[in-house]
Each structure stands twice: as structure tokens, then as C-alpha cells.
């Protein structure tokens, strides 16, 4: 083995050992950019590169002629879309 190869191997080994000794963490790989969070909220990205999770959206769907049970002026309206299978 010539001197050059030997020096190269020593250099790599040193880098690996020093890295382990310093407990350097490999940066997390980011695969793609999600448009929403797991619970469906939008991720807003601003021109300066900062971002924020948008507040939850409130949908104003009227009761209309749909069937409901409970007082019409209830504090909480639970609206459920369902099918029968």
C-alpha cells in the first residue's frame, strides 16, 4: 500500500471516529413537502421562508331540511354525514 492510500484511509477513519465520538446526528431527510398536517390543517408558507399551521377551518353548513334531534338552539351542533353500509 502506498503512502497516499494509507493517508486517505486514515483520514476517513478519523472522520468517522471523531463523528461518533461527538455523537453527530445525521440530519433528517425531508421527503417532499406536505400541504396539510395530519389533522387536515393547512401549512402556510410565507415569502420570507417562515411557516405556520393555519387555524382549523369552520364550515358554516346549514341544517336546512336535514333531519336532526335535539334543541334547535343547542350550544353544540354535531353534524354527521353517513351512509348505510
Amino acid at each position: 500500500m502506498n503512502k497516499g492510500k494509507f493517508a486517505l484511509i486514515i483520514s476517513f477513519t478519523t472522520v468517522i471516529l471523531v463523528g461518533q465520538a461527538l455523537n453527530l446526528e445525521k440530519p433528517t431527510e425531508r421527503k417532499g413537502v406536505k400541504a396539510t398536517t395530519a389533522d387536515g390543517r393547512k401549512i402556510l408558507v410565507y415569502s420570507d421562508g417562515t411557516w405556520a399551521i393555519a387555524p382549523k377551518e369552520i364550515f358554516n353548513i346549514p341544517v336546512g331540511d336535514s333531519f336532526y334531534i335535539g334543541p334547535s338552539d343547542a350550544k353544540v351542533t354535531v353534524m354527521e354525514w353517513m351512509d348505510y353500509q
Binding site: 353548513i61 336535514s66 336532526y68 353544540v76 354525514w81 351512509d83 348505510y84 353500509q85
Partner: protein
Amino acid sequence: MDKLRTLFPNDVKVVYKNFPLRSHKQANKAALYAMAAGRQGMYNEMHHKIMERYRELKSNEDLPLELADALGLDLGLLQEDMTDPALQQQIYKEMNELKSTGLRLAVPKILINGEEYDRKKPIEVLVKEIIDKAG
């Protein structure tokens, strides 16, 4: 939903909207039966009866007729109401309401005071929090 109504009878209103999935061939007809039963004041009863035995719909799409009979409904009137285009239009309207939100079209889909329920905590816990906050 029944549990919510039992726990908070004065504070909770439950609204049922239909979204029969295309892949569930008998679901639309079952929804029509429930709505027709509603015209005889028995929507809730029919809804629950169908839900209890929904698996049987696949092999018997007219199961709701049997259930209606057991509930003492006027079967002739029920079948007549089933054919009223207004009921089908109501189903389409309810489907479009969900589509208009832009949310993922999967059922059951629940909104609580207009906000999508994310199932992170039990619904009765979340509803109680909202009621307590409202004072």
C-alpha cells in the same frame, strides 16, 4: 351520537346528512327509506333500525321495508314517498354540502360546531369542553 344526546340532552343537537357512497349500492335506497320514514315521524327509529342491521342490506336492499313494517309505518305511503324526487334531491344537496367543504370525502364525517372532528379525543369529552366553554 345517542350517547351524546343522553349525556347532554339540552346542549347537543345532532344533524344527520346523507352521503351514500357509490361503492355501497344499497346505501342510497336505504337513505331514501329513512327519509320517507321521517315523513311519518319515524326517521330516528328507522335510522337506528337500519344501522343495527346494515350488513344485511347487501343481500336484501328492501330490508328497510321489513323494518318499517315492524315499526308500524304505513308501507304504501312509505313506498309512495320513496319515489318523490324531492327526497333524492335532498340527498344530493347533503352530498354537495360535504363536497363544498373541500374535506376528504370519507364517511362518517363529523363537524362539531362547523369544525371537523379529528378523533384525537373522545367526542363526548370534546363536546363537554365546548359546552363548558360556552358557559
